[in-house]
């Protein structure tokens, strides 16, 4: 344990090992304050997290109050009954409870919010355009990540064509 290599006053608590451009190993030993001033760590604000948490709880309580009022007009199931038994009462619940159900579905489905895949023949054509777009969007993300901007531009144009139809 040594002193901070920057200010040489405080104890170094921040240790970083990096490989620089020439492939050399670079070690840094800094105190908290110097690490922050170099932009290596974010300023620690204990209140920030608590505020977020409180908002979530308050939001949830407001949500609970609203959810308590929520009853499906079609099947008569209340949102709270659904939360207790885990099963919905009718297909309309997906729309009637959408405000609360959306986050729940996303949580259960690894962040997904839209169907991709098979659909009944009747709504097929409409769905397949949507699926093509969503596939193109994923390819576009990949192209951007790979910094292949030429391909990205081409994919963006194809998406524009499809959604314009």
């Amino acid at each position: 344990m040594g002193l901070c290599e920057n200010c040489k006053k405080s104890q170094a608590t921040f240790h970083l090992t990096n490989i620089d451009k020439s492939g050399e190993k670079v070690e840094r030993h800094l105190c908290d304050r110097c690490a922050v001033s170099e932009g290596l760590v974010q300023i620690h604000k204990p209140t920030a997290f608590n505020e977020t948490l409180e908002n979530v709880i308050a939001g949830d309580q407001r949500g609970q109050a609203a959810a308590r009022q929520l009853v499906c007009e079609s099947c008569g199931l209340s949102y709270l009954e659904f939360r207790n038994q885990g099963l919905l009462g009718c297909p309309q619940d997906y729309d009637q409870f959408c405000e609360f159900l959306a986050t729940l579905v996303e949580r259960a489905q690894d962040g997904a919010s839209h169907h991709v895949g098979k659909s009944p023949a009747a709504s097929g054509a409409q769905m397949s355009a949507r699926q093509d777009i969503s596939k193109l969007r994923r390819q576009l993300d990949d192209a951007v990540a790979a910094e292949d901007y030429e391909r990205a531009a081409e994919l963006r144009d194809r998406m524009r064509d499809l959604s314009g139809e």
Binding site: G89, C90, A108, Q109, A112, H114, H115, K118
Partner: protein, 353 residues
């Protein structure tokens, strides 16, 4: 107490034949689809009249549907407990369907590769099972059945959420792919963590032989998808076919080779001890039978046992289950009587195959 299911219990099922790609380790491939009819409540809100209407509408669709019209159609509500358990042990219905209440049915083809549960958690659950790793074949068949039925019923479908299901964990494709694996060597070498990790990386779940909430018996495990929304059926299937299952199969093969190389006496002891117990015991619980049959099955595949027929072993896994045993004996048996009957059945089948 003669019912059509006495005959069913005596038969083997197509998917237990021990054929198909990677069948030494992959017992079966199963795809299940959850569907609900538009215009009705889900079952938790449906009264008995509505349950009956739903069941009737699907039954009619099945009858009007060329390829399905010759299937066996059974009224699960009015079957005996024993017949229901036979269907569970054959993976034709779920435990939940057996133990449910109200109007509910099962429709299955004579080879038992296809089954349709009516009024389980959703109005309709279509299931296709295949021996070994046969994803494409299973998908093509279930997709065809789904298309054919859709000509006769209107499914509840949502432009954002896809096929609507009673539980939001099935919404979207409504598809659940499950692969049943036999992993005795990974268990013996304490390497099941690898399987759990491989599955977890792709958000797949690992369960016991009879699905949700069941423990792994006799080294059998089911790997199945959790996510049904935001990925197409083929993308979901590709996770299994392309990476997870081949990887797990390779782990198991390596573990078997390592056992043969480094601990061959210990391995042989497991196999021949199991064989000895199965051939000699006078009382045998079903868990014990599963475990010893599992070791014998591995013995066949690593070439240490040659005197036993694989299909016999595969069939015994099913026939030694409590309901099958009672069907084969033609009478109700308590736990102790079953242990005696089970030991006797196994001795007879293993000395004569």
């Amino acid at each position: 107490m003669s019912t059509p299911f006495d005959e069913v219990a005596r038969r083997s099922t197509e998917w237990l034949r021990g054929v198909g790609p990677l069948h030494e380790i992959v017992i079966s491939t199963r795809i299940r689809m959850a569907r609900n009819l538009a215009g009705y409540f889900f079952l938790s809100r449906a009264d008995s009249a509505m349950r009956g209407e739903i069941s009737g509408a699907i039954q009619k669709a099945v009858r009007d549907c060329g390829p399905l019209s010759t299937y066996v159609d059974a009224d699960v509500e009015h079957l005996s407990d024993l017949d229901r358990m036979v269907l569970v042990e054959r993976h034709l219905i779920s435990r939940q369907h057996a133990e449910g209440s109200g109007a509910r049915r099962v429709v299955f083809d004579p080879t038992e590769c296809v089954s349709l549960m009516i009024n389980e958690e959703d109005h309709l659950r279509i299931q296709v099972m295949r021996s070994g790793l046969q994803m494409d074949e299973a998908w093509e068949q279930i997709n065809e059945i789904d298309d054919a039925l859709e000509q006769h019923v209107e499914y509840a479908f949502h432009s954002q959420y896809g096929y609507l299901t009673a539980c939001p964990t099935n919404v979207g494709t409504g598809i659940r792919v499950s692969v049943m694996l036999h992993l005795p060597a990974l268990r013996l070498t304490n390497e099941l963590d690898k399987v759990v990790q491989a599955a977890k990386d792709l958000k797949l779940a690992i369960r016991g032989l009879y699905g949700e909430g069941t423990e792994a018996l006799g080294d059998f495990f089911q790997v199945s998808n959790q996510i049904t929304l935001g990925r197409s059926e083929l993308e979901i299937i590709d996770d299994f076919r392309g990476s997870v299952i081949p990887k797990i199969v390779e782990y198991e093969q390596k573990a078997r080779q390592a056992l043969l190389r480094n601990r061959s006496s210990a391995l042989e002891d497991k196999i021949f001890r199991a064989m000895g117990l199965l051939q000699s015991a006078r009382l045998m619980s079903s868990n014990e039978a599963m475990q010893y049959l599992s070791h014998v099955r591995m013995g066949l595949h690593v070439g240490r046992l040659k005197s036993v027929n694989l299909q016999t072993v595969n069939e015994l896994f099913m026939q030694t289950q409590p309901a099958h045993l009672q069907k084969l004996q033609g009478e109700r048996l308590n736990g102790k009587q079953r242990s005696i009957a089970r030991a006797k059945l196994i001795r007879a089948r293993l000395s004569n195959n």
